[in-house]
Symmetry: C2
Subunit: 319 residues, 2 copies
């Protein structure tokens, strides 16, 4: 099986992708963007042994690779459209590829995304995905648009993926329903696409939590020239994570990467409407603090500011 | 130095990239496409030890990685605009990075391309670049648009890069001016961007020769439902390649990858005008054959058809 056969067999799918004039099979893909839209793009790489364990089931890996890339579109409030895949493989393993493409397209289909191009090469297992989405002109969320006094909120729950990674690293199966839930949160994160689209009506500022809350909220602070104060007791905790001892739990919630929840800042006058919109859809959205003058993230635990948290704590590092 | 420092130091440049609303530093880049334009994208990966020798100077590698990706835009007749970079590195080597980014931006600046986003991760040296260009609506070149009777032509000369790769593989310096030229053709290919833009007025069909003439012209044949007849004696040969013995030379010209010249098909009535346009700019364009009914590529050497060339000869394989 050569590169062309491999692509034809595992990665060429019928699709009715909107705006696709020409897709994989030519030198480039050709795409239509509507005049009132702007293009939103992001590229992400996952390397075996660095971002995932080589033992991870390929179906979950395919799903996760696209989910983590999609999360950047969610953080912009963009509508997903197309993606490209640069896949480097040590060898052609048909069972592995079948699983990978199944997981990949499971999520792509959910968001009506079309795979429009890619490159398949031999080498150490590495997956780069570039996602392409659209926003109505000017209607994107950025990390630099928080304002003083804004309420800080997060979707979903925090710390699950970090706890799930620990389960995976133990190299044994999850032993309890809670562990299985946490592992699932690591292996199959949810890109909060729908939430991001809804947020655009109430906010201009969001980020996805890939490197941990402290690090990513820190990016909002740096980008917006402000500080943030959050309450440890307010951080949303899944019932599965609540089985972990409280010191570790807080560490996971503050510094654990890979949750891919959204952190958003909202003007106080918009908060109750936004919260009601989320609530009416049964989507969790939890207020955890507020943007203040200054710089950096300050975590309060009751009356005590956890000043022991060094500001250089940047969450998950890729180097 | 962490990932953010590294990006700031080596990959964040002032640019006046057209259409860039938001670039690297947020979760995604946001881009403007003019209403009369279509977006053209392609992604390419280069892996150390597979696509280049690990000993290759990083400055040349940065140049080459972007050049090979740009070549796909050239083959579409697209105007280059933006690129993203997914860079996986075994360690942070500042001298290596300085050279890589210098070579990369040397070429980016030549085409006024802006680096709008990327991902930097730890792992085996792997470079994925996605290029983004624009074409006026419908005015792109594809590999599926050849017509029977079209003249087949190629830009530049063929076979140099394959001969240059052999020089590099010897792991010694080029010993003659000819070897230095051939090595340079491998290490610093020229993406035929200007040529591609000009071709759009005279053709709808082109491909870039990355896998070898036989393989890539074969893609035009397959895409267009036609065959091709070419004359071995017509294949353009640099004076440096003419120092190589004739059997090897023909092999390099027909099957050698990495030349990144364009192969184009042109209606006979457009040929003389197109040739004059190239000639007036001192750009080489050589007629090598014609498109015929049938399938596959037939190479004639004088009166003899080189039937010894198996049609499964697909040039450079990545697996």
């Amino acid at each position: 099986m050569n590169e062309f056969d491999l692509i034809a067999r595992f990665f060429r799918r019928q699709h009715d992708g909107e705006g696709v004039v020409l897709d994989n099979g030519d030198d480039c893909a050709v795409l239509d963007i509507e005049p009132e839209q702007q293009l939103v793009v992001s590229i992400d790489t996952m390397v075996a042994g660095v971002h995932f364990l080589a033992s991870m089931p390929s179906r979950d890996l395919g799903y996760r690779a696209l989910a983590t890339a999609l999360s950047d579109l969610a953080a912009m409030g963009a509508q997903p459209r197309w993606f490209t895949l640069a896949l480097t493989l040590p060898a052609i393993d048909e069972a592995w590829l079948a699983g990978f493409s199944e997981g990949l397209f499971e999520l792509a289909d959910k968001h009506q995304m079309a795979l429009i191009g890619g490159d398949t090469t031999r080498g150490p297992l590495t997956i780069s995905i570039q996602v392409h989405g659209v926003v109505t002109r000017g209607q994107y969320l950025s990390r630099a648009a928080a304002e003083e006094g804004d309420i800080i909120a997060v979707t979903g729950s925090l710390g699950d993926a970090a706890a799930g990674l620990r389960v995976a690293q133990r190299q044994s199966l999850a032993e309890t329903a809670e562990e299985a839930f946490l592992l699932r949160r690591f292996e199959r994160p949810t890109a909060r696409i729908e939430e991001g689209l809804l947020l655009r009506d109430y906010s201009r500022c969001a980020i996805d939590i890939s490197d941990g809350l402290l690090a990513d909220l820190g990016h909002i602070c740096a980008g917006s020239g402000l500080g943030a104060e959050i309450e440890a007791a307010l951080l949303p905790c899944s019932s599965a994570l609540s089985t972990v001892n409280s010191n570790e739990r807080l560490e996971f919630q503050l510094r654990g990467g890979d949750d891919y929840e959204l952190c958003v800042t909202v003007a106080r006058e918009n908060w109750s409407t936004l919260a009601a919109q989320f609530s009416s859809r049964d989507w969790p959205l939890t207020k955890i603090g507020r943007m203040v003058a200054g710089s950096g993230v300050c975590v309060h635990d009751g009356d005590e500011a956890l000043s022991a948290l060094p500001m250089s704590a940047n969450g998950f590092k890729h180097f």
